[in-house]
């Protein structure tokens, strides 16, 4: 993404976001509340109209509808555990399935809880389990880039740990590119290779995660 701008109606939300990610890398998208992290994710997934340059694997993303961006290999885990509540766990996964590395048994191995709950309606699961379904559903599209928007927000510590462990496995075993938006700075430091910090809808800092020292992160994002 180069100098990407976006509007909600007449209100401008992004003023120039720059973001680059290489294959197999994990990127932390950080910033205080309201600085444009979710809007950046929605722009990348083509859910809102944008201006600026956006390419993914050589394809111009800027004019594609969202379903075509997803078909290019961008898998989204949206904010707020958004499963298909009226479908069972297995049906949620099958509805999104495309050929590739990830299949039902792979997802059930990654999240054993989902194997236990496979016939249960997704709307009746706990918040953490719904988040696992949302991640599993995104993986079933066999993406090359997985985008997680606040995937661990509001979850119990034990469930958060399961999700961070699964993401670490994804990085180590599959070489999947990942963009993570989250507030768990400790876990992000362990998982992510690079970081981009947003402030008032534009990129204010970008670099290797190791260079985002605690002092700098406290100054930029307050944690």
């Amino acid at each position: 993404m180069k100098q990407v701008t976006a509007h909600y109606g007449s209100a401008q939300a992004l003023f120039g976001v720059d973001l680059e990610l290489r294959a197999g890398e994990v990127l932390a998208l950080m910033g205080r509340n309201g600085m444009g992290k979710t809007t950046t994710v929605r722009s990348l997934c083509r859910m809102i109209p944008v201006n600026g340059e956006m390419t993914f694997d050589g394809h111009d993303l800027s004019r594609l509808p969202s379903h075509k961006a997803a078909r290019l290999g961008i898998g989204l885990v949206p904010e707020g555990r958004r499963c298909f509540a009226g479908l069972t766990v297995t049906e949620n996964l099958i509805a999104a399935a495309r050929r590739g590395y990830w299949n039902l048994s792979g997802i059930r191995t990654l999240f054993p809880r989902l194997a236990e709950r496979r016939h249960q309606l997704a709307g009746t699961l706990s918040g953490g389990e719904q988040q696992m379904v949302a991640i599993g559903r995104a993986l079933m599209t066999n993406p090359r880039l997985l985008v997680l928007d606040e995937a661990t927000e509001g979850l119990a510590p034990i469930i958060r740990n399961e999700i961070w462990t699964a993401l670490a496995r994804l990085k180590a075993e599959t070489g999947l590119s990942i963009i993570v938006v989250d507030k768990q700075i400790g876990e992000m430091r362990q998982l992510c290779d690079h970081a981009v910090v947003l402030e008032r809808g534009s990129t204010t800092w970008a670099g290797p995660m190791a260079e985002l020292t605690p002092a700098l992160s406290a100054q930029l994002i307050g944690v």
Partner: protein
């Protein structure tokens, strides 16, 4: 409460047993009533794909019912009057063969559903309802003025069409054909609902944005479902015309669309055999209450009101155990 699968089997068994009993006891009118209910059920099963699975509230499904009916009427009229359907360098004759009529009725209905769906699905909500209603009314008024095929008076067909190896003039035989088609379509629906396409369609009904996020185009999913839905309703229209040996513009009217929707809501939206239960209940109410009072629709309205207020799963939902039906 009983499992829904068991209820479905009981419903289908009863729908077969009653006309069979009637055929043994020389009660052809009962068989005709059962055939009428079966055909209505088929039309409603078609609508249930659009309404129940796809969330498309179509108030224009009479259009496909009418197209199926008029396809049968026109083909049979030309075959029975020995006049070509199309004259000129290439002559196309009518036909009395039911399988051919069914195939043509389904093909024409599918084509109409493709065009109407492609236009209607650019809108949603009340606008979708209005556009589908408008298309139905357009065909209604067109057939009223279509004097070649009876205009407002409709078109009578002298003999029931033929099916290879079966005397279709025997009421139970014709019922058996309709029943067989209904069972086939229900089996198709059961598999369709659990297929990746059916699940994606269900997901698109729940959240089009989330479906786009997994790389699927909800408009395309709904269009395919709308075409399948219209095709099945078109087949029902062809059978209905053959049952009555008569087609008229009434088949296209918005009241017919409303009745097909009532079958679905009465029996249970998105329930596999909900439309069957709804159609049977409607025909029974029409027969028994219609004999007591010409204002029998008041009682039907009252029943519908109770179902909508207190039993969102319809009559099937009242007695069958399964996940709650959606709104």
């Amino acid at each position: 409460m009983i499992p829904e699968k068991l209820l479905n089997l009981v419903v289908l068994a009863l729908l077969l047993a009653v006309p069979y009993w009637a055929s043994l006891n020389d009660a052809p009118f009962t068989i005709t009533l059962a055939t009428r209910a079966t055909i209505f059920a088929l039309a409603a099963v078609g609508l249930n794909i659009a309404l129940g699975m796809g969330g498309m509230v179509s108030l224009g499904h009479a259009l496909f019912f009418g197209i199926g009916g008029y396809t049968m009427g026109i083909l049979a009229f030309h075959a029975q009057s020995f006049t070509p359907l199309i004259d000129g360098p290439m002559v196309i004759e009518g036909t009395k063969s039911m399988p051919v009529i069914w195939a043509v009725a389904m093909g024409v209905s599918a084509l109409a559903a493709l065009v109407i769906g492609a236009l209607s699905l650019r809108t949603a909500g009340v606008y979708f309802i209005m556009i589908t209603l408008a298309f139905g009314q357009m065909l209604f008024f067109f057939t009223i003025s279509w004097s070649s095929y009876g205009g407002e008076d409709g078109l009578s067909i002298f003999l029931r069409n033929e099916f290879p190896g079966l005397d279709t003039l025997v009421p139970f035989n014709f019922f058996a054909l309709c029943y067989g088609l209904l069972v086939l379509v229900i089996l198709f629906n059961a598999r369709f609902a659990r297929s990746p396409f059916g699940l994606a369609l269900n997901a698109a009904r729940q959240s089009p944005d989330r479906v786009r996020a997994v790389g699927l185009n909800p408009q395309r999913l709904k269009l395919v479902a709308f075409v399948i839905s219209g095709t099945i309703t078109g087949l029902a229209g062809a059978l209905f015309a053959d049952l009555n040996r008569f087609v008229s513009p009434t088949m296209f009217s918005w009241q017919t669309s409303g009745e097909i929707m009532v079958f679905v809501i009465l029996g249970g939206v998105a329930r596999l055999c909900g439309p069957v239960v709804g159609a049977v209940a409607f025909v029974m109410l029409e027969h028994f209450l219609g004999g007591l009072s010409e204002f029998w629709h008041i009682y039907l309205g009252l029943l519908l009101l109770l179902i909508v207020l207190f039993a969102r799963g319809g009559l099937v939902g009242l007695v069958a155990r399964r996940g709650a039906a959606h709104d």
